[in-house]
């Protein structure tokens, strides 16, 4: 069993090594046709740029790094040249920005011109990366069925292992997570070989070439599946965890991945039916609304569905079941956190200070998302071009761009997932997600959901607080005999699972008022003569 596990580690590392190694070995050959259609699609007017790049790259075998550098350097040189002219022709200026140039400008050319071993051996390449990593991952986790002994809570050694206790392995993992997101969001031109590994699947599903987002989708689903298997083994005695993991995995694979791709295959808009605004912050962007309106009955349905999801379905469901139905049963971000992130849940900070920071941050993001969307809708209905300055030299487009960059990319991706091994698996959900903030209000003020505390049984051991991914100090409530109703609780159910004394139960009771969290003056079991006491006190 141990041997199988070790071979599994080896295979996984090999898969990742190939994957990462391929980033450094990309080769490209830009044909004249590819080059010309690229120049046209990017609307490049600078002869200086065309003269200098065409010679350097067309019909030459060059690496991704060279290709990217030539384009970037020549674009800079061209801009300098144009500005040095007595009269600058602004049409010939190439707009450059570090977080946009690579993905919007260089990536399309690099993607279209890739050649080499990888593009000729798609199936083998898929096996060498995804295949090895998935098989290896399963070989690592499945032996735990025997190795961990009889079913039960086996968090043995979690705080004594470098990977799960902010050790060197944890920090290296965090570095790779963050690096991946930076490449994915801002420099996809460097991950074209990894993208090629899923080209076959993309062709099969939608008939299109794989993009970086398709690669991300396949990775997301594979990682979730492998780590869901880990959950199935770890919590095989716990029906709540088994069902929850199955459902959240189903929603990701079906609604987050397959259905949108199949829609594209039928020339319909890519649409994730479970992704609600404001988490899905681009929903009300003009291009999305226009796209949906122009996509026939289905498009209109998607538009109405998206609005109903946020305005009606989400709050009603939270009223009945708490926000867990979304955050830990349906949501894609939650799905990754509950699978890949599960080994890191204990790293969330439980201090009062972090709770304060959390409330400012998450509600700040909700305000940001709401005002950004309000502005977007205003310019949409007022028929103002989104790039037009509205006030203070700022356009709606600027605000959208900032939100997309700081919240959509950096916060939810680079930090949200990158910090799993450092700050726990719900960094985004706890500190940033505007939808979670919205659901939190409903859960806190009008919902049947609570975590019931079982009378006087709590022994203050702290397992519940330690394993709360949202950093809720569950014990602080449990030892007082108070039920837990916190806006941030995503109802993952792990506090209840790790409790050694059967103190906590997630449930949807019949009352929704303050009695949900009533604290008794005296803990259950201590039968003081209350009547007598009130007499004496008054």
């Amino acid at each position: 069993m141990k041997a199988i596990k070790n071979v599994g580690y080896l295979l996984t590392f090999l898969g990742f090594a190939f994957f990462i190694g391929s980033v450094f070995t990309g080769t490209h050959k830009v044909t004249t046709a590819t080059y010309e259609s690229w120049i046209q699609s990017k609307n490049i007017k600078s002869e200086y740029f065309i003269n200098h790049t065409q010679k350097a790259i067309v019909d030459k075998e060059i690496s991704t790094w060279e290709l990217s550098h030539i384009i970037l350097n020549q674009a800079k040189a061209s801009n300098q040249y144009q500005k040095s002219q007595t009269k600058t022709d602004w049409n010939k200026i190439i707009h450059l920005k570090w977080n946009k140039t690579s993905k919007d400008f260089i990536y399309p050319l690099a993607r279209a011109s890739v050649i080499g071993w990888y593009s000729n051996n798609i199936s083998l390449w898929f096996f060498m990366t995804f295949g090895l990593a998935i098989i290896g991952g399963l070989m690592v986790f499945i032996p735990d069925y025997k190795l961990l002994g009889p079913a039960g809570i086996k968090n043995n050694g979690i705080f004594q292992h470098s990977a799960t206790n902010r050790g060197i392995i944890g920090f290296i993992t965090a570095f790779f997570f963050m690096a991946f997101y930076v490449l994915l969001y801002f420099f996809p031109n460097y991950i074209i070989n990894p993208i090629l590994s899923v080209n076959g699947i993309s062709h099969f599903l939608s008939g299109n070439d794989a993009s970086q987002w398709f690669l991300y989708g396949v990775m997301y689903c594979s990682v979730m599946t492998v780590f869901a298997v880990r959950m199935f083994i770890k919590y095989r005695h716990n029906s709540y965890q088994l069902l929850r993991t199955t459902v959240v995995l189903f929603f990701q694979i079906a609604f987050g991945f397959l259905i949108p791709e199949i829609l594209v295959a039928f020339n319909k808009p890519w649409f994730d039916f479970k992704n609600a605004w404001p988490l899905n912050y681009t929903f009300f962007f003009d291009y999305n609304i226009n796209n949906l309106i122009n996509s026939g009955h289905l498009g209109i349905f998607m538009l109405v569905w998206g609005i109903a999801l946020t305005a009606i379905i989400v709050p009603i469901m939270v009223y009945f079941y708490g926000k867990r139905w979304y955050c830990s049963w349906v949501c894609g971000c939650g799905g990754l956190a509950e699978t890949l992130g599960d080994p890191y849940r204990q790293l969330s900070d439980k201090s009062l200070l972090s709770w304060k920071i959390e409330r400012w941050l998450i509600h700040g993001v909700l305000v940001f998302a709401t005002s950004m969307t309000a502005l977007t809708l205003y310019v949409y209905f007022a028929h103002i071009e989104s790039w037009k300055v509205i006030a203070f030299g700022i356009s709606a487009y600027d605000v959208q761009t900032w939100y997309g960059f700081f919240i959509g990319s950096i916060f939810s991706g680079v930090i949200g997932t990158g910090f799993y091994p450092i700050m726990g698996n719900r960094v985004w959900c706890r500190f940033g997600c505007p939808l979670a903030a919205y659901l939190g209000f409903v859960q806190r003020f009008k919902s049947k959901f609570r975590i019931t505390t079982n009378g006087g049984q709590c022994i203050s051991c702290g397992n519940c607080s330690t394993y709360c991914e949202q950093g809720i100090d569950v014990r602080a409530y449990a030892q007082k005999g108070q039920n837990i109703v916190r806006s941030s609780c995503v109802g993952c159910g792990i506090c209840s699972a790790v409790c050694p004394r059967g103190v906590l139960k997630l449930e949807n009771g019949s009352n929704t008022d303050a009695s949900r969290t009533q604290v008794n003056d005296i803990l259950l079991g201590n039968d003081m003569d209350l009547l007598n006491m009130t007499k004496k006190n008054s």
Partner: protein, 443 residues
């Protein structure tokens, strides 16, 4: 301003301090030599196993004490001078009090076994014990645990989690069978063995042998067996940690003797928690109860008395819980190992041998007396209510679904349980559907 000094920063002392602060402005000082800040003793095993870190056992952040004006002194009390109302500390300083609360807890029992003070031989009670166990576990080839109670089985789980082979010496013929009825006890025996623990029942420790460095190298049992090991856990119960009070004038028996107001024979001196001994037992409870929640309840109670509302310590219906490896245990009301004369029992066990319910009720009146549950969680508040209202066994079984506290989507067995009861007792009960209305009904 009144000076309240509490000796001991365990659950009893800390609860007293917190409640005194809630009700008064008194000057509160806590003296303990174990650690500066309060931690949960019950969680030490999880620190060893790597489930949590030591800091996670501290229920309050470090700023809590200053903010609530509770002074912490890390020192050992050598002597209590009742005439001058002064404590003499081991750092040669002294402090005086107006009210003194003794909450010094317990210490592990040692019964004069040869070799009991060797290196690598320890109990499992204090932070210092944990540190020592952690140290000696590093090169441990086999651990022997002596004493088949709750701490013993926790210690077995600790070592097993580190893949250290464990031999578990239990004096009784079945695990904890002075408390658990035979069926539950047998279930735990099996579960212990399932975890590859070498369980030796009906076996006593004779001697611990030393190697040339003064560390334990083997134990000898009364069966004539010599078991090589380099770590020995002594977990044959605990007794009140009160030896420092011997000549103080405070009346002692095994613990500090207190009345129902938790007062000792000396005015302004109180004792609570594990170290307190009731002059006469309350109900069927033992005079000394080394249980987490009784410490907490005594803390709540004594705080009221000290703050001007003299309050009797009046523990309600007995309840308790534990975890034996992977099997959770809860109990409400009384169900002793052997049925008493007036008692009838009803036992249900799941085919997986990991879940059971054991009901105790009055043969004639059918009054429900108590329940043991293994592997199924039950609602404390409902059982407390049912015991107070003296419900019948039939009532309890009919409403058992209300009391189920297992996580959602767990398989439920109430119908099966009631069916078995019907067969054995010729009744025709039916388990009623769960009702929130009944669960929330307060009286």
């Amino acid at each position: 301003m009144k000076q309240v000094i509490i000796i001991g920063n365990g659950i009893a002392g800390i609860t007293a301090a917190r409640h005194i602060r809630k009700k008064s402005d008194y000057h509160i000082t806590i003296v303990s030599s174990e650690t500066k800040y309060f931690f949960s003793r019950t969680a030490l095993m999880y620190v060893f196993m790597g489930h949590i870190k030591f800091e996670h056992t501290q229920p309050y952040e470090n700023w809590f004490w200053k903010k609530n004006r509770i002074d912490l002194i890390q020192a050992h009390v050598q002597k209590v001078e009742i005439a001058s109302k002064t404590l003499i500390l081991d750092n040669n300083s002294s402090i005086s009090y107006d009210d003194l609360i003794i909450a010094t807890g317990s210490k592990p029992n040692k019964f004069g076994w040869p070799g009991q003070d060797l290196k690598g031989v320890m109990g499992m009670y204090s932070k210092q014990d944990l540190d020592e166990i952690t140290h000696y576990a590093k090169d441990c080839k086999r651990a022997v645990i002596v004493g088949g109670g709750l701490i013993g089985i926790e210690m077995a789980e600790m070592f097993a989690s580190k893949n250290i082979p464990v031999t578990f010496l239990v004096r009784e013929t079945s695990f904890w069978n002075k408390v658990l009825p035979a069926q539950e006890s047998e279930m735990i025996n099996k579960h212990i063995k399932e975890h590859h623990i070498d369980l030796l029942l009906d076996t006593n420790l004779i001697e611990i042998l030393s190697d040339e460095y003064g560390r334990a190298k083997a134990v000898v049992t009364d069966k004539g067996e010599t078991i090589p090991c380099n770590l020995v856990g002594l977990t044959a119960g605990v007794s009140p940690n009160v030896s420092f009070l011997k000549d103080s004038g405070i009346q002692l028996d095994k613990g500090v003797l207190v009345n129902r107001y938790l007062e000792t024979n000396i005015p302004n001196i109180y004792a609570i928690g594990d170290c307190a001994q009731q002059q006469s037992a309350i109900g069927e409870r033992r005079p000394i109860e080394a249980v987490w929640y009784t410490g907490r309840m005594m803390g709540e109670t004594v705080a009221r008395t000290i703050c001007g509302t003299p309050t009797k310590y009046n523990p309600g219906h007995w309840f308790n819980s534990a975890k034996f490896f992977d099997i959770e245990y809860q109990t409400y009301g009384w169900i002793t190992a052997e049925p008493k004369e007036n008692e009838a029992r009803f036992y249900w066990e799941h085919t997986d041998s990991k879940k059971c319910l054991h009901f105790n009720f009055d043969k004639n009146s059918k009054r429900f007396i108590g329940i043991n549950t293994l592997g199924i969680r039950l609602r404390h508040q409902l059982f407390d209510k049912w015991l107070t209202e003296e419900k019948s066994i039939e009532y309890v079984l009919e409403h058992l679904k209300d009391a189920n506290f297992d996580p959602e989507f767990y398989k439920q067995y109430e119908n099966e349980i009631v069916a078995k009861f019907n067969i054995e007792n010729g009744t025709s009960l039916k388990a009623k559907k769960k009702s929130w209305k009944r669960i929330f009904q307060t009286s």
